[in-house]
Symmetry: C2
């Protein structure tokens, strides 16, 4: 039996979406390999620090994502933090999944994982928790190594578009 | 036996902190009541959408936080999303814990929870998951009701300071 959502439910869902569209977020790209060794990845606006000692971060994803088999079935992922000059990369890695690794913007990195070029920072992480909630999951990763690249201006996702950082308040 | 962190460990921790200082984040304030009914709350830069149907969000916190007893021991919380005009509120709710509820910037809201005045949006949520990892926790909340206030410019936390949103890229 499928429940038909009430008008109140629909209104609540629309309000919830609106609230998060207007909540600024930093932008990252997660990449991994499926158990068969195929590169997968996606743009994420939910990467957050959980602890510094040990270095832990979390992100959220849908379990219908093309990257879910890599997150469910393998232990390591790369987390790339994006800067203002990476806008096109952010758009590409949120676009058609069969076009995300077409091109020379990446190469095999640590553990053979897809490493994106020219990002301000990347981290190799081991998945330590996969918390399934409804059709989604919260993933917790412990960072094992990483590299800082050139500093860049921050990249902010807001109202479904990419923005620069503004002045300090 | 306490392990002494190696130079490599210290370097890794410092790099991790630097990466997240430079990862822009939206700003929210979580409030709750301890089991004894005392208001507690804190500024959070980790509030992320997890699903829209049902409306779920996540945030991260330290289990040494003064708000942890409220999150551990009670079922409902308020999540307030902050805008650019709420900078002082963000600073106050990240400051001395005995001064966060001194003043008339809040009043008892749904279920008696501390409701902050003059925010762009607030949501009442029921805690559905508490994932403990090291000394921290990932909290998942299902939104039950909420209210949109006046729209405001986005508020972004970056390099340990508060910023406005910048122009679209």
């Amino acid at each position: 039996m499928t429940e038909i959502p009430s008008a109140t439910d629909i209104e609540r869902i629309e309000s919830f979406k609106k609230v998060f569209r207007r909540h600024p977020a930093g932008v990252a790209v997660i990449t991994g390999l499926t158990p068969e060794g195929r590169p997968v990845g996606f743009t994420a606006s939910s990467v957050s620090s959980l602890a510094a000692v040990p270095p832990l971060l979390s992100f959220n994803m849908a379990r219908v994502s093309t990257a879910w088999p890599a997150v469910e079935g393998t232990d390591h992922l790369l987390v790339h933090m994006l800067g203002a000059h990476n806008k096109d990369l952010a758009i590409r890695m949120a676009g058609r999944s069969d076009e995300r690794f077409t091109g020379d913007h990446w190469s095999p990195g640590p553990r053979g994982l897809p490493l994106l070029d020219d990002v301000p920072a990347w981290m190799l992480g081991r998945v330590v928790e996969r918390l399934r909630v409804a059709n989604n999951a919260v993933i917790v990763v412990q960072v094992e190594e990483g590299e800082l690249g050139e500093e860049d201006e921050g990249l902010v996702y807001f109202e479904r578009r990419y923005h620069r950082m503004g002045p300090e308040l």
